[in-house]
């Protein structure tokens, strides 16, 4: 066992941290040039990373930054799907073409196998909801059902659909965690088939996304707790720093302790991403469950320990807290993953 980062990953972390600390605006091309997108994929796909620990390093740094980059949705998930289909991901890695994956549907809630959108003769009809990064994508990957009942794992395919394809409408909005999402409606919309039995590839991409989301949230939690520690050390009330009151300082201790648990859970998840699906998903459910529980605690308590200032949009903590709390709604929430953990532990 070894808990040290390799030299390469340490370098990636340092580079990314330096870059993100000054980054503003659309940095997608810069990220690509830095090789950050390439770090998400294995060498056979033209990248130079792609393992659980690579993802953990990249996304923890992303989480530490006070900006929202849709690296999971615009690069990791579509890229993994395309690699599974044997498609070329070079433009994606180079940052010259951007993608999004339209999969979620209202009835699916957090289940990957629930697809009501139908495909017939490569024309798609259905409603996709909360599609992240859709607005800035050049091409959408869209899942649809070729056959089977609404919740069958079999019979789900994925198509490439141009954003201006006929019958496609998109309604976009801001998301609570930052970034943008969209409702995507397809009405007999033509697509180019990517895969016909896509469930395993989708599950694989979502496993990678789950791990990445947890790592990203860990980074954000780390910053939020550190900001809180600083605040407790400097804010004075009743003639002394408020961090000298046990009612506050002991809660900071609990946050630190739970944060270490999340860090451990992310390491566990990263170490099991390449394992067989059932084992991988059981561990990732544990990781996401801890992330969800601790995330709520950290979001709520860091605001509480800051008092009013933590409630203001201007102060960065509130933005971190929103990202942390809302991460629970991505890729399965605390309860969903507890149930999945139980099911996979039998």
């Amino acid at each position: 066992m070894n808990f040290e980062l390799t030299e390469e990953r340490q370098m990636l972390q340092d580079t990314l941290r330096r870059f993100l600390s000054g980054a503003t605006g659309d940095v997608w091309h810069d990220l690509a040039e830095l090789g950050v997108i390439g770090a998400l994929f294995g060498e056979d796909a033209g990248g130079f990373g792609g393992t659980g620990f690579d993802l953990a390093v990249v996304f923890e740094e992303l989480g530490r930054a006070d900006l929202v980059l849709p690296l999971i949705d615009a690069a990791l998930i579509p890229g993994r799907l395309m690699v599974a289909a044997g498609a070329d991901v070079a433009p994606l890695i180079a940052g010259t073409e951007r993608f999004a994956f339209a999969h979620s549907e209202l009835g699916a809630r957090y289940d990957l196998n629930w697809v009501e959108t139908r495909a017939k003769d490569n024309r798609l009809t259905g409603e996709k909801t909360t599609v992240f990064a859709a607005e800035d994508a050049d091409t959408l990957l869209v899942s649809a059902r070729l056959s089977g009942a609404v919740d069958d794992q079999q019979g789900i395919g994925v198509w490439q659909v141009a954003k201006d394809a006929p019958g496609l409408t998109m309604r976009s909005y801001e998301l609570a965690q930052g970034g943008r999402g969209a409702e995507v409606s397809l009405n007999d919309t033509p697509g180019t088939p990517l895969m016909t039995q896509a469930y395993d590839a989708i599950a694989d991409a979502m496993a990678a996304a789950t791990l990445s989301q947890c790592a990203e949230t860990l980074g954000a939690m780390d910053v939020a707790v550190e900001m809180t520690r600083d605040y407790l050390g400097t804010r004075r009330q009743f003639g002394r720093p408020i961090g000298t009151f046990q009612a506050l300082s002991h809660r900071l201790v609990d946050l630190m302790m739970e944060l270490e648990q999340v860090r451990s859970a992310v390491i566990l998840g990263a170490g099991h991403l390449e394992n067989p699906p059932a084992e991988r998903d059981r561990i990732l459910s544990a990781t996401k469950n801890i992330m969800g529980r601790v995330g709520r605690l950290v979001a709520e308590d860091t605001i509480q320990l800051h008092g009013g200032i933590g409630m203001t949009h201007e102060y960065a903590l509130s933005r971190y807290a929103k990202r942390i709390a809302m991460a629970d709604h991505r890729f399965g929430d605390t309860d969903h993953h507890l149930e999945q953990f139980i099911a996979l532990s039998r």
């Binding site: 009743f238 509480q304 009013g308 203001t312 507890l338």
Partner: protein, 399 residues
């Protein structure tokens, strides 16, 4: 002991329900249910409706135009209003300043200001907190210096809720900087239209702008706007803080919130069945429902112990802590129930117009409401301060 309502109380409840039925427009109730912010006009509309009916000031004595209800009646009224999703009455004039003036104001002040609170002619806001004086309220620095018939006020207040609508503010100001912390503070009524006042909105975590900073630069306030004695303001401030606490537990709001959670969880489908049938979610809901059932009794027990029109004592801290825990837990459940649908947040369509957000469960902004309601355990004396107050009460004598 008797848990049932008397015949009079039942009749009263029917009367309140009929009133709400008749007077509360459905669109307004919908906005409240969906946690949308109301315009000044909407606030004023409901204020006037209640005032016309004589129900605007449940805890004011009749001689000042109040309803002078007992604890059970107040409770029924608050519950029914919350469950009908009636707009919440802005409390600064009615529940805060009103009782202070009734107890400590001059007759002239009572005669002038109290009717204007009821009529809605004055919209009051509160000038207590300052950037450096949050939980440590008495550390306030805003100065008022006597100059002939006026005080000249300089300083800054913050977290001033709905200050953007207000034409009046009651403030704690320091009139004797040499005195000890709690001494040397006075209670002033200040016209928000005075020269030298600037109101700057604070955008909160949910994107809303319900609170403000208020800056005072050489603001002149007539000395007749001093309440009570100079340098005795801390007494009035404490009275105000502990006075109107009949609804501090927010039981009605919790009931209404829980109904919303069930509504969402009844509509949201998980694996083809309503989320409400999922055993883990059902357990979360049941747990809060049980706590709330007990809280309703706890609230009534503590509130009815206090004499008519009086504030409960130190136990009000317990009501505040547990009440906000339950309310916040419910906002978490609403967000959790909506699941992925909690994420759409601010609304601006691709085409540049304001397209409504997707809202398949007709829940409104559950995430915004979750984040906004973090305030419940911070403002009005944080839950940590409440614990400290009650701890000192428990440990009286030990040192």
């Amino acid at each position: 002991m008797d848990l049932s309502l008397s015949a009079d109380d039942k009749a009263f409840r029917a009367e309140v329900r009929a009133f709400l039925d008749e007077n509360l427009p459905a669109e307004l109730a919908d906005k409240v249910r969906r946690s949308q912010s109301l315009s000044k006009q909407e606030h004023d509309f409901w204020h006037t409706k209640l005032n016309d009916r004589g129900w605007l000031a449940p805890n004011w004595p009749k001689k000042f135009g109040g309803a002078e209800w007992d604890a059970v009646q107040r409770n029924i009224f608050e519950d029914e209003c919350a469950l009908a999703y009636a707009p919440r009455i802005v409390p600064f004039g009615l529940s805060m300043l009103g009782p202070v003036l009734q107890k400590f104001g001059s007759e002239a002040q009572q005669n002038y200001w109290l009717p204007r609170i009821l009529s809605g002619e004055d919209w009051w806001c509160q000038g207590y907190s300052e950037p450096g004086a949050g939980s440590d309220l008495a550390a306030l620095k805003t100065r008022a210096v006597r100059d002939g018939d006026h005080y000249v006020v300089n300083g800054q207040k913050t977290w001033t809720t709905l200050g953007q609508h207000a034409n009046m503010i009651f403030c704690l100001v320091r009139t004797d900087p040499t005195a000890k912390k709690q001494e040397g503070i006075s209670f002033l009524l200040i016209n928000m239209n005075s020269p030298g006042i600037e109101v700057r909105p604070i955008t909160l975590i949910d994107g809303g702008a319900e609170v403000n900073e208020v800056w005072f630069t050489d603001v002149r306030v007539p000395v007749e706007n001093l309440v009570g004695e100079e340098n005795k303001g801390w007494t009035y401030a404490k009275f105000l803080l502990t006075h109107e606490r009949t609804n501090i537990a927010g039981v009605g709001f919790s009931r209404a919130g829980l109904a919303m959670v069930k509504r969402i969880a009844g509509r949201a489908q998980a694996r083809g069945r309503p989320l409400l049938d999922n055993p883990h979610f059902a357990a979360r809901v049941a747990q809060v429902e049980i706590d709330l059932m007990a809280m309703a009794v706890t609230n009534l027990r503590i509130v009815s112990k206090a004499a008519k029109g009086q504030a409960p004592g130190a136990e009000s801290s317990l009501l505040k802590i547990k009440g906000t825990q339950i309310r916040q837990e419910i906002t978490d459940l609403a967000r959790r129930a909506a699941g992925p649908q909690a994420m759409p947040f601010a609304s601006e369509g691709l085409d540049g117009t304001n397209t409504p957000l997707p809202d398949p469960y007709d829940a409104g902004g559950v995430a915004a409401s979750y984040f906004n309601n973090r305030k419940l355990s911070i403002f009005g004396g944080s839950n940590e301060i409440q614990r400290e107050i009650y701890a000192k009460h428990l440990m009286k004598g030990a040192s």
